[in-house]
Symmetry: C2
Subunit: 243 residues, 2 copies
């Protein structure tokens, strides 16, 4: 059973997230369906690097799957894409050794979050439009308090599958690109809703609702504030997974 690594992009708008569910359209469900069509009815187990929530997008989600027979990677990509809807796309396939695991072998994930400073006719599903003025210097100062190894318990909801809430946050940067503020965040792994709560807190600091010091203190004790400030799903992209 040859193992393949797939790199996928998708627009999450029309899906109830990554993970397969009964009675809901999900990205993994569509991938299973396409794999079955491409291989004439076989059943598959696929493993993603991690879940993405409803409305969240991916530029480089990584999946592994064991196929009954070996196929040239380009043939595999074309066959799967022929059966995928227009907003899910396999970018590449690669043969991997059987010890490769899309989730367990990953050493870092990088996300991108898009904040927009103006109304746009083309971006609703891909940005968080913040009408209020944002002080970028204050957002960057707030971000500096979150980089490093820390307990991010107050940035997530209870998730029975998650063993530890300690995360190594390697990168948290803000860059301006035209009317967008791009937040890039890289970490060993991410807790449920963690990226959206980090972005929400940074926007709170940018508006002046929180001081950068307040943001640092959120790591020390649990607070309902992070949940209240959760950024919407639309602006979030899983950008890259590193192995």
């Amino acid at each position: 059973m040859p193992r393949y690594k797939l790199i996928m992009e998708y627009a999450g708008t029309r899906y109830s997230g990554w993970q397969i569910q009964k009675n809901a359209r999900t990205v993994q469900g569509e991938l299973h369906h396409a794999l079955q069509e491409a291989t004439r009815g076989r059943q598959f187990e696929t493993y993603g690097s991690g879940r993405t929530d409803a409305g969240v997008h991916a530029l480089g989600q990584v999946v592994h799957v064991d196929l009954p027979t070996a196929l040239p990677p380009d043939t595999l990509v074309a066959r799967i894409n022929d059966h995928l809807p227009h907003d899910i796309n396999v970018l590449s396939a690669e043969r991997m050794p059987p010890r490769f695991h899309a989730r367990h072998s990953a050493v870092a994930r990088r996300y991108r979050y898009q904040i927009s400073r103006r109304r746009s006719a083309f971006e609703k599903n891909y940005v968080w439009w913040v009408r209020e003025p944002l002080n970028l210097a204050r957002m960057r100062e707030a971000a500096s308090h979150l980089v490093g190894f820390a307990d991010f318990r107050s940035f997530t909801d209870d998730d029975p599958e998650e063993k530890s809430t300690h995360v190594l946050l390697q990168e948290l940067t803000l860059t301006e690109q035209d009317h967008l503020i791009l937040v890039h965040v890289t970490g060993s792994h991410f807790l449920w809703k963690m990226v959206r709560r980090i972005v929400g807190v940074l926007v709170g600091a940018g508006k002046g609702d929180l001081t950068p010091g307040d943001v640092g203190r959120l790591l020390q004790k649990e607070s309902p504030l992070t949940a209240q400030l959760t950024a919407p799903a639309a602006g979030l992209f899983l950008e890259r997974v590193e192995y």
Copy 2:
């Protein structure tokens, strides 16, 4: 009655084109509705620089409208946008003399057409994905035969509103940007379906179905070929109108 020039962007995907119609959702219809809401029920005549077909987008459609009272441009923009759907957006407003007419005063229109060389999860409504290899040099040579002042009758369907089929085509360029080929075309005015038929014919030349010389000869006599090759609406954007 102060006259205003509005510059608008819209994603045409959900609309039956620009022009107002009974029993169909159009961009002009949505603009009328927003103007009525913003001015408490008045009726308006709006004049666009030209129509766009169903599924065609705009980055800089120009409209003029006479308002009952003068308003600061930024206030006007904000009030209209508060009542527009998310995929239609007024970018700017400007007070103009009464002799300004969005259609009659225009001296040139520029369109952009996006051809994609690969499948993408994010672009379905904004590109024409051409799977076959395209020879860009041949497309550019074909384009050179269409620049200038000529009778573009064979690039349009009969339109009773159109008096002349002679058009001055000032620019027809092809540039590569990542996996996209961008076609830019500027002309004095455009006939119905003309841009999409020009692009269709260039893609025909790029695939090798037509020689560049064939493309030039299409100007000389009518042929069913241009209609057969019409490029899909999704890739087309009205980019700019010049006065």
